[in-house]
């Protein structure tokens, strides 16, 4: 029976072209408009944030390494010197920083310019730079010395930030803080007598790159997700409207008179909401994939999020239907479509990244079903797996179950005549 309710709902959607356009074409148009107007174009490879960083070395690192090795020969046996010499490339801090800065992943969002110390004053006045990284005199020498002799000296890079670029400043700061931690780790290992050659360079490199793994999301990708999760909310309203329409024209009474349990009908609305939300999401994401090349790294993870979000929408559809029946009015659906859905879209971050606001705002946003769905999709798009979105998935499922329980409590016991 539930299948026939779903099939009937599908036919009703299919025959109502105006509604189909609103549910499918509208989000696609909005994605195009918002992506173009608010983002950095539709180049999927481009990052919404590109930061310029100036890099200034006071003294060439190679000179410091040679000086260090010369001094080392006077203090340790020649065998140890030979071993350090063979690993010196992996130990040289500036060489490692440059290797990371020039990697393809970092180049996507960091533009590094190597400058002469004499040019610093010019760069300070140039507001296009997010930060100036200065390698102080003797930095590499001190790092190597602290690694080998467990010195307490803590060599530090000098970084000057452009406070007017807060987002970029935060990213650059986080990037170099992590690098500094790698240096400290190296020193710590040295302190504990661990063979430096045993340090897996790739592992260290991987840690440094961990911030790079949070791939930037293009504007078109962001608004594809934002508009999809928002417009799927309207589908819940549409299903709720149809359920109320069935009550209004006494079709619901016919169903009750046919000895069909109200729970079967109720389940039919839930299943219809879930399935058609799923189909709507697939169509919009499919379009974005074909036209803008927006694709999720793992299709299975994407489907898991889509099912969870669609289930939440199904729950919302049942709740709206039950409230309409209980209040004997479609006011609830109209209020949801005209006010609540828009409010949820704003709170959930469909129009602007909520990550840029306060943590309270972010928490509130993630407590909306669309916000939780959006965060989950964005996290997947940045390269994380299911483990990284377990909270969002859990929230969506709990939200769906709660709406179903509340709807069940509201649903009328008999028919709805008179």
């Amino acid at each position: 029976m539930i299948w026939h309710i779903i099939k009937k709902q599908g036919l009703l959607f299919w025959r109502n072209k105006q509604q189909l356009i609103l549910l499918i074409a509208l989000p696609i148009i909005l994605i195009a408009i918002l992506g173009a107007a608010l983002g950095s174009g539709f180049d999927n490879e481009s990052s919404p944030i590109k930061m310029k960083v100036a890099f200034i070395e006071q003294v060439e690192e190679q000179d410091q390494i040679e000086q260090f090795l010369t001094d080392l020969q006077e203090q340790v046996p020649s065998g140890v010197v030979d071993e350090i010499k063979s690993n010196i490339d992996m130990m040289a801090p500036i060489t490692n920083i440059k290797a990371v800065l020039e990697s393809e992943e970092v180049k996507e969002f960091l533009e590094i310019t190597y400058m002469d110390p004499s040019e610093k004053s010019v760069i300070v006045d140039d507001e296009s730079y997010t930060a100036i990284v200065e390698v102080p005199e003797g930095f590499s020498y001190d790092v190597l010395e602290s690694m080998v002799f467990n010195n307490v000296i803590s060599p530090t890079l000098l970084i000057t930030y452009n406070e007017e670029q807060q987002v970029g400043t935060s990213i650059v700061s986080s990037f170099f803080t992590q690098f500094q931690e790698q240096l400290t780790l190296g020193t710590f290992l040295g302190e504990k007598g661990i063979d430096l050659s045993a340090i897996d360079y790739q592992e260290v490199n991987g840690e440094v790159i961990s911030i790079n793994e949070q791939k930037p999301v293009s504007a078109s990708a962001y608004y594809t997700i934002g508009m999809t999760v928002m417009n799927v909310l309207f589908l819940a309203g549409a299903v709720g409207y149809y359920a109320y329409y069935e009550k209004e024209i006494n079709v619901f009474n016919r169903i009750i008179m046919a000895n069909i349990s109200r729970w079967v009908y109720f389940s039919g609305v839930l299943a219809s909401g879930t399935i058609f939300a799923f189909i709507q999401s697939l169509i919009i994401f499919g379009f974005s994939w074909l036209v803008y090349g927006i694709r999720f790294p793992d299709i299975l993870d994407f489907l898991v999020v889509t099912v969870a979000y669609s289930f939440a929408i199904g729950g919302l559809a049942v709740l709206l239907s039950a409230l309409n029946y209980r209040l004997n009015s479609e006011t609830i659906t109209n209020f949801f479509m005209n006010i609540i859905a828009t409010l949820l879209a704003v709170l959930g971050g469909s129009f602007y990244p909520i990550g840029d606001f306060s943590s309270l705002f972010q928490t509130l946003g993630n407590m909306t079903p669309n916000g939780a769905g959006l965060t989950a999709y964005l996290t997947l798009l940045r390269g994380e797996g299911i483990a990284g979105i377990s909270d969002n998935l859990m929230y969506l499922v709990i939200f769906a179950l709660m709406t179903v329980v509340v709807a069940a409590l509201c649903f009328p016991k008999r028919g709805v005549s008179a």
Binding site: I249, N250, N253, G415
Partner: protein
């Protein structure tokens, strides 16, 4: 077969139905008559187990359908006053969907859909979406859906509202045929006296939630045995003429139409000369003065002082 016992429905302080007692025997067509707002729809909603009564009971084969509605629902077909159809689906899709909810499957379902489409005269339009149908065709399909599972009892709530005379006749003939050919029991509610007179064996008349008369057509018309109805038609209605009629001691009731006045007078009263005199004194040019056979409409007028469609 079906019994309504002291059935009452109260909405806040207002009685929609008050102490309604009715019975319906197998194979008869029973009319439930009354103006809009009389309580007919509420009564049949309670009878159909869709609305819980404030007090009283509904029994089917001596079992309360309020406690166990399933056996009754299985044998009843409901034709609601509204068009309870999906107007964006075709006639066939509607019948297939509602057939499925009545647990019909496969070939049996297809056969029933064909049979019902034939009965309601829509076989040629089966693939058309319902919203393209005329009001009469939609009404016929509305009835067809209720007949899909071969019900023993058909409850029809004003099934001919707002349709053309041709479709109306078609529906009335269909109901008559179903009763004669299949011994189908029908409860027919309407505020059209002529429909009830044409179809029904017995009649219940409701007004303002109360049952005001019941019996066979002849029994009900006997209520008017002491009175007769006179219809007066004229070129243009005159308020002064109506007023003097109302004040005449021989006239019991007066109702007015566009160019017609109907009066109830004692059966042995000779009022023709008096009517002509009153017309002359008020400047009215009469077209006709007829002594009418009493109708159910006249009975309702006699009982309530109002016309059914007031």
């Amino acid at each position: 077969m079906i019994e309504l016992v002291d059935l009452t429905k109260k909405f806040k302080q207002m009685y929609a139905v008050k102490n309604l007692n009715m019975f319906i025997e197998r194979g008869e067509i029973v009319g439930l008559l009354g103006p809009n707002g009389a309580g007919k729809s509420t009564a049949i909603s309670m009878l159909s187990s869709l609305v819980e009564p404030t007090s009283g009971d509904v029994r089917f084969e001596n079992n309360s359908i309020l406690k166990k509605p399933a056996p009754f629902r299985k044998v009843v077909g409901m034709v609601p006053q509204n068009i309870a159809l999906y107007t964006d689906l075709t006639a066939e899709e509607n019948l297939l969907f509602f057939g499925r909810i009545y647990r019909l499957h496969g070939k049996e379902l297809e056969r029933k859909v064909d049979e019902v489409l034939e009965q309601i005269g829509l076989t040629d339009r089966r693939k058309d979406v319902v919203k393209k149908f005329s009001g009469g065709m939609q009404r016929r399909l509305n009835i067809g859906v209720a007949m899909l599972h071969d019900p023993e009892v058909l409850i029809m709530d004003e099934p001919t509202v707002g349709i053309d005379p041709q479709s109306r006749n078609y529906i009335l003939e269909t109901v008559k045929r179903l009763n004669e050919d299949r011994n189908m029991t029908v409860l027919y509610t309407s505020h059209y006296m002529e429909e009830v007179e044409f179809l029904c064996d017995r009649i219940y008349i409701m007004d303002k939630g109360n049952l005001i008369a019941s019996g066979t057509k002849d029994e009900i018309k006997q209520i008017l045995s002491s009175e007769k109805t006179i219809s007066i038609t004229m070129e243009r209605l005159n308020d002064e003429f109506v007023e003097v009629l109302k004040q005449n001691p021989q006239v019991n009731r007066v109702t007015t139409g566009e160019k017609e006045v109907t009066i109830l007078v004692p059966r042995d009263a000779n009022v023709f000369s008096e009517i002509i005199r009153l017309a002359e004194s008020t400047g009215i040019e009469l077209n006709s003065v007829d002594n009418k056979t009493p109708t159910l409409e006249d009975v309702f007028l006699h009982l309530t002082g109002r016309a059914l469609r007031d």
